[in-house]
Amino acid sequence: MFEQLVSKLPVGIGIVDEAFNVVYLNDFFLDRLPHELRKDYKEQPVTELFKGQGKFLKRRLKSVFVLQHPSFSYWEQRPHIFPFKSSRPITGEETQMYQNMEIIPIKDNTSDRKLACIFLQDVTAQASYFRAQQKLSQALKKEHAEQRKLIRKLDTAQSQLIQAEKMASTGQLAAGIAHEINNPIGFVTANLDTLSQYASHLLAICDGVESQITHFTEEMQEQMQSLFESNHYALLKDDITELIDESSEGLSRVRDIVENLKNFSLETADGYQNIEVCSVAKQLITLISAQYAKPEYKFECAKEKLEVIGDPGTLKQALMNVMVNAAQAIEDKGFIKLSIIENDNDIAFKILDSGCGIAEQNLKRIFEPFFTTKPEGQGQGLGLSVAYTAIEKHQGKVSISSKEGKGTVVQITIPKSPPQSFSTDNSEPATEAFSK
């Protein structure tokens, strides 16, 4: 009865002796043996009968005989020890049977012979289910990653929108203010010119009187002298021209700043056009030095004029943001050097500052939207991400190297003319962040 039971069990049961020769195989094994082997499988080495994993079987059987201790093998690590087909040859997806194996040491009661019993479990269903699950989880993971990427893109797009919106409104505001300031500056300048003429006339009159003073009566002379003295004529004469000159110089500076502001904000022509980068750079320096007076600004370019084709608005914005960062990095004393270098196909802007530098752990994140090291409320963390996008739009490259306490170098390279298409949806500029 037991013999029958064992032969019909839904697990493979095989018994081998110490020479690895087969002593017994139940139906599970026999049903799956090739026809020609079914008759005389007994007394054949199990490693010959199932050659594929013979070496492995031998090793495990040896360990069981030596240690007299069970050995296990799982489908995850070794799926097909015995070359059996899956139990569903027609509808199954798996072609080979996935197996868990256990070998346990036993003893023949009559002869006291050491034997090993091989249990084989068909876990194909389990394995294919597990693998399907794994595939699913991988697919989910991939999808998740893609979504995260998308979210990041959306974030960037949103921040650019915010920035663009802000720029547009500050641009309009600046244009409005510039216009308003221009009017009073116009008449103040004109008036000052007239005033300067009047002053020189007045001085001429006074000088005339002074030179003719000896022709007056003594009493008159005294009165005149005391009039000159009580009004500090000597000082007044010295000072008045200087004051007026300084004032008109100041006015012309105000006019320059307003002009620059207008140039920067009134960029209405959307699209690519020739940009003369040297004058852009000079404008930029004037504009920034008005706001950040502490650093010393230097400009370097081998040529008087250099042109690229690009979108003036975004390109200026990018340079501006980088320059402002450089200016803000300098707390007390230091310099900012903007060099423009012409290469065969591109133009490189190198912005070097002797400021506080960027910490290594922050260097990788500086282009992230909303990443800022400034105290809350003082920076939106958008400047460099906007710059990045603008450079990306021009199919250019940006690289940063920085050393804390020493300074930072930002290099922006822009092709002289954009290659082929202006479409920029998929292009990403190569950024590298490294510290010296």
Binding site: K55, R59, L67, S73, Y74, E76
Partner: protein, 194 residues
């Protein structure tokens, strides 16, 4: 430690002696199989809380972990901690061919644990004249399980370290018993002492 061992001194000494013998046998088994010299540490017996057990497992840096439960007259779990270093040399001794795949490494880990834990347990059960059956080992990631949520308060831990002399490989085997089995083992120890 303020916790009183659940074993009295005599029981403890007896268990220590039995462990020395059975662990030695285990080392011999492995040495025989992979034909190399194996050193063992003196087995340690202690009582630990779940968090202490967690700390105990993580004493080895960069390790693989497995667990394996055993049933029979006494119930419990064996956890093994294997160093990652030196595993390649051991794989060679076990007749694996380079380069090792991820599956090969997993198989080697499971097999090593099975051999050593099996031999230790078999030896101990023999000495105590108890029957035990070891279930199959599985890979274990203790860092992903929450030891603080475990139901038990204290457990008896027997720990031994195996070092393969020719490589930097080492492995710790940690036996844990449940409360009921502890009582049974104390009785058995008393019988032996009696």
């Amino acid at each position: 430690m303020s916790i009183v061992l659940p074993l009295d001194e005599d029981q403890r000494d007896a268990l220590q002696e039995l462990l020395n013998i059975s662990m030695g046998q285990a080392a011999n088994s492995l040495a025989q199989l992979i034909e190399t010299k194996i050193d063992i540490s003196i087995p340690k017996i202690s009582t630990v809380t779940p968090n202490e057990l967690y700390g105990l497992l993580f004493e080895t840096k960069d390790a693989f972990y497995t667990r394996q439960s055993f049933l029979g007259d006494i119930h419990g779990e064996v956890m093994s901690v294997l160093s990652q270093s030196g595993l390649v040399e051991v794989a060679k001794l076990m007749d694996y061919e380079e380069p090792l795949t991820k599956e090969d490494i997993q198989e080697i880990i499971l097999e090593l644990c099975n051999i050593l834990a099996g031999a230790c347990l078999a030896g101990l059960s023999d000495q105590l004249e108890l029957t035990t059956n070891l279930n199959m080992p599985t890979l274990f990631q203790p860092e992903k399980s929450n030891f603080s949520d475990l139901q038990w308060q204290h457990t008896l831990v027997m720990e031994v370290q195996f070092i393969i002399a020719i490589s930097s490989f080492s492995m710790r085997v940690v036996f844990c018993l449940d409360d009921e089995s502890l009582i049974r083992m104390k009785d058995t120890l008393d019988e032996l002492l009696g």
